[in-house]
Amino acid sequence: MKFLSKMNVSRRFLRVWQRNLRVYRKGWKVIFLPPFLEPLFYLLAFGIGLSGLVGSLRYQGMEMSYVRFIAPALIAVSMMNNSFFETTYASFVRMYYQKTFDAMMATPLCLEEVITGEIVWGATKSIVAAVIMLAVISVFGLIQYPDGLLILPVAFLGGLAFGSIGMFFTGIVKNIEMFNLPVFLFVTPMFLLSGTFFPLENFPRWSQHIALIFPLTHLVNLTRDFCLGRIGPKALWGLGYLFLFSLFFFPLAVRTMRRRLIK
């Protein structure tokens, strides 16, 4: 908290968050659909389609169906997408096209609070997505409760991590098309190679180490372990990594946005 007040961030950042919430609630019926339908599509494709080919697999000594294996990863990917795309494309539109940040900065709010509000909003969207997906996936009996509920704070932490790095990219891209680069070079490789669709154990050792650099690997591991009811001290590594990742990219995001907006 001291770290935040040093950066000029007061609780006023909640006003920025509230503005986004208000807009979100106006369009919730439409915005609600993707996280609701996405897991259904994936479970349909992988559960019925791919499961027939894969059958079951071993994950850390546990024998499980392929659907049970990927369902938590789908939640983790959704956390990443919801926060990352919020603080990249959506924040960029508010900043550049709608001049929303300019208007906010003509009030007692300061840039640090605007950026904090946006990133925390991204993390909130990550939670919302996790809640909806959790509900849908629970119907198929793929989540162990009550441990599965711990996914919600994980969603917030993951959302902060991906929201912060997203905002960092928003601070440096020249135009909105340039987001293709971080999406193609950062999000897509992670989506495929973070132990989402196959256990990392099947990979060579060196690539397993590389995968540990990806924040999504940790988010997937945490979500999967919590869904399967395998909570252990190992989780602290993942939580610690995501925390440090956020702690690194949050001030960096503020710095790049400051350079971009304050003239």
């Binding site: 006003r15 503005r19 208000r22 106006k26 709608q98 300019d102």
Partner: protein, 303 residues
Amino acid sequence: MQYVVEAKDLLKKYGDFVAVNRISFAVLPGECFGILGPNGAGKTTTVRMVYAFSPLTGGSLSVFGLDITKEWRRIKSRIGVCQQENSLDPDLTVLENLEVFARYFDIPKKEARDKALEMLNFFALDSRKDAQVTELSGGMMRRLVLARALINKPDLLILDEPTTGLDPQSRHQVWERLEELRANGISVLLTTHYMEEASQLCDRLIIIDQGLILEEGKPEGLIQKHVGRDVIEVAWPTQELRSYIQSGNLAHEDLGHRLVIYCDKRDDLYLKITKDFCKAGCIMRMATLEDVFLKLTGRELRE
């Protein structure tokens, strides 16, 4: 007396480019103070520093007697800003725009709604309160921006080219509302390049160009000082007229196809010119601030 805004040697640089070059000015309580200048003169840069959007490169700036570098949050909570670019929130309706904005000032919800409705009424927008911002006309949008700037009952209203791009009806409506507000004692800092607007609204003004103050004073005083009371304009002047004006040592500007003569109560001169030098295309009119402005900042195109 405490100034509402007091700038001393205000300096703003972008790299090597000096946007505002050590200017000093002060705004009195209840006054409408204008900053006039061509595009790129440094008007917006100056007011952005006053509402703590841009940090100063040098000099000092106090608003309500408070130092802007230290007390920016207290200062910002007492200012209303109407920015040049439309920054209304297109994701929200007219009423929501005001309510959400009020929340940025920490105004309680109930009070925010009451104040928002009051402002919509004042700016004749109450019938459109549930409309999307994107459905509004340019004039309505500008009124909504003004309403939004007043939501926190500011002591100082900063208007950055408030009527640029508006039709005459909308412009006059904005002026009327501003005059009403002024009658209630609000101080106004205004930038514009419409001289008519400056003459009508400003008590005092500065004319700036390339980051420097060229002149400072009351609109009428500046006209009197630089132009005189009247202006005679002659289209397609003859060589004889040019020599006559030059020999008479009269203040004038020769634009080639047009001769502008500045004078004070010289009906005789006008009669002589129309009689001896031109049959048509010669008029005499009251001098305006625009004459002063063009005389001081030149007639070359900017940017």
